[in-house]
């Protein structure tokens, strides 16, 4: 049975009700609803006045149909979103969205699951959101199939009448690990296969609140949030980890951990020297943090891997400092040294011999000839 219908039955009303009506019936007070809206506004870095707009937007919105497609992925993004706190995935599924198709979270399987997807597409034509996690193999249709359909086919069919597409995770946003060299499956990001508006929420996995917060924004404002040049919401990807890192003062003072178990590491000094990619990574890890604000990788003692950036897997070694070149910088150095020295010596010798010949030809005085030798 389609999740649409299941959720409709769960609430005992058809999905055409507004969210405000549905929440009121479930006993959600206006006060808690406004608190939720304020929190969502704050994590989206919106002004306080936006909380009212979010509350109004959500109250009058209809439940949003969402089709979640999983392609070349590890389910880490789903694992992450199920740990979202505010708004939680439960908040979203039960109150704001109708998650009509999701391999991990849906009850239905086999034909019924595919039927649910088709039904959601028909009933919400032009209005549903498509969320994709995982990159799409464009090299060979047989590399990854679902219900007998290639990933490319399924994505194109589903995205055709979608309102917008959300690429969740670095694989969907930029190709991620499947697209790392040598990219055997010809993996491409979602944005390469559709003309629909694409919002990238990168990360491996993305911060849960970045995913749920963005969905909440889409529901509240019926528009797309401000995006950076890589199509990521500015609210979550507007600042470099390095700029908001609590270890930044140690960087400025030149106090660095040299290894993961030295005095510097124990004192919580900057991890730049052990390969932290925080200076070139844009994400909200240092501010929103993970597990409901408990910690983030740098706080637990490991440098940032740069997982929310395109090509992070091929960006040199994780433990190689950012300031260093890539591994093959000196690939031709020995050859260059030998060639430079040899050509230099050869050119000097050649000039000497030419000059000597000229002197001889012109019958230069014996003394000068001797000097030349």
């Amino acid at each position: 049975m389609a999740d649409n219908n299941r959720n409709s039955q769960l609430h005992g009303k058809p999905v055409s009700r507004t969210l405000g009506e549905a929440l009121a019936e479930r006993g959600v007070s206006r006060r808690s609803f406004l608190k939720f809206a304020s929190y969502t506004a704050s994590i989206l870095a919106l002004p306080p006045t936006a909380a009212t707009a979010i509350a109004e937007g959500l109250a009058t919105a209809r439940r949003q149909s969402v089709i979640w497609l999983s392609f070349q992925e590890c389910t880490g993004c789903t694992e992450s979103i199920t740990r979202a706190s505010s708004p939680s995935i439960e908040d979203l599924i039960f109150d704001f969205i109708s998650l009509d198709y999701h391999h991990t979270l849906q009850n239905a399987a086999g034909d019924a699951a595919e039927h649910a997807r088709m039904q959601a597409m028909e009933e919400n034509k032009g209005e549903y959101l498509v969320v994709v996690d995982g990159s799409i193999p464009a090299g060979n249709n047989g590399y990854s199939t679902i219900a007998g359909m290639s990933n490319v086919e399924m994505f194109e069919e589903t995205a055709e009448h979608a309102k917008a597409v959300i690429a969740v995770g670095t694989c969907a946003a930029f190709g991620g690990i499947p697209a790392a060299r040598p990219n055997p499956t010809g993996a491409v990001p979602v944005s390469e296969l559709t003309d629909k508006p694409v919002i990238n929420i990168s990360g491996c996995p993305p911060i849960p609140e970045a995913m749920t917060g963005t969905i909440a924004y889409l529901l509240s404002f019926a528009g797309i949030p401000e995006l950076d040049h890589l199509g990521r919401p500015q609210a979550f990807f507007g600042e470099a980890i390095h700029d908001r890192c609590y270890r930044r003062p140690f960087y400025e003072k030149g106090m660095f951990a040299k290894s993961f178990d030295d005095q510097g590491a124990r004192q919580g000094w900057c991890l730049y020297e052990v390969g932290c990619k925080g200076p070139v990574t844009y994400n909200a890890c240092a501010t929103l943090k993970w597990n409901q604000g408990v910690s983030f990788p740098i706080q637990s003692g490991h440098g940032c891997l740069g997982c929310s950036e395109p090509g992070f897997w091929d960006f040199g070694g994780f433990y190689k400092p950012l300031a260093t070149g890539k591994d093959d910088t000196l690939k031709y150095a020995a050859g260059a040294a030998v060639a430079g020295a040899a050509i230099g010596a050869a050119s000097a010798v050649s000039v000497r011999s030419k000059r000597k010949k000229l002197l001889e030809a012109n019958a230069a005085p014996q003394a000068i000839k001797e000097e030349a030798e």
Binding site: E252, A323, G325
Partner: protein, 224 residues
């Protein structure tokens, strides 16, 4: 990020290859070049060549009294940006990490904030050097493209480094990429212009010293 990938990868590899080949080409062609023997009689009491070379290297560290007043600012300014460049290049941790990654050599670093301050002083000093050159007619007359281009390729890494550190105008990875690319340009140009003095300054100065000692620096000595 793609620009940074390019800068850290192919651009750096290419420029270092050219730099190594070029520097060794220059040094070896110089070592094996034709040298006309000075057949003139040496001045009585001439110091051994090596001593004459060393003493001239030292003497030319400071201007002669005759020229001191007129050229003191330029001398001091020259020291400021040379020492500044030395500190910035060799005592900022990211630079040491870069050198360590290539050569395995490592040494202590200075606090980043101190190096930033020195880099600003260096930048101002480089600008002053250019203004001095451009505003002095005789210097302008003898300046060639090489002089101005050498200045530019030295100035750009300092400027881009400061801008990258301060995150001015663009995202850090773009600024870092531009900084690395400006260093690539510098590396490529060093062997082929006056910046080769990085390697040759004491060799050429010593050679001049030995040569002058042989002929006796009568005129110069009077000026001291």
């Amino acid at each position: 990020m793609e620009l940074l990938e390019f800068a850290r990868g192919p651009a750096l590899m290419f420029s270092i290859t050219v730099f190594i080949a070029g520097v060794l080409f220059r040094i070896f062609s110089l070592l094996f070049m034709w040298r006309t023997k000075d057949t003139s009689a040496a001045h009585p009491g001439q110091k051994p060549e090596i001593m004459a070379a060393l003493s001239d290297i030292l003497r030319r560290m400071w201007p002669l009294a005759t020229y001191r007043q007129r050229s003191l600012f330029q001398w001091i300014n020259g020291y400021v940006f040379h020492i500044g460049l030395f500190i910035v290049v060799f005592f900022l941790l990211p630079h040491i990490l870069f050198i360590n990654d290539l050569t395995g050599l490592s040494w202590g670093h200075l606090p980043n904030n101190l190096v930033y301050a020195i880099s600003i002083v260096t930048l101002i000093s480089l600008i002053a050097a250019l203004i001095m050159r451009a505003s002095n007619p005789p210097q302008r007359l003898i300046s060639t493209f090489d002089d101005y281009f050498s200045w530019l390729v030295t100035f750009l890494p300092v400027l881009s480094g400061i801008v990258a550190t301060m995150h001015i105008g663009a995202r850090y990875e773009t600024l870092l990429a531009l900084h690395i690319l400006s260093v690539c340009l510098l590396l490529i140009y060093i062997p082929f212009g006056k910046l080769m003095h990085f390697f040759l300054v004491f060799i050429t100065r010593g050679q001049t010293g030995a040569h002058i000692a042989h002929r006796r620096r009568t005129t110069v000595l009077k000026g001291e």
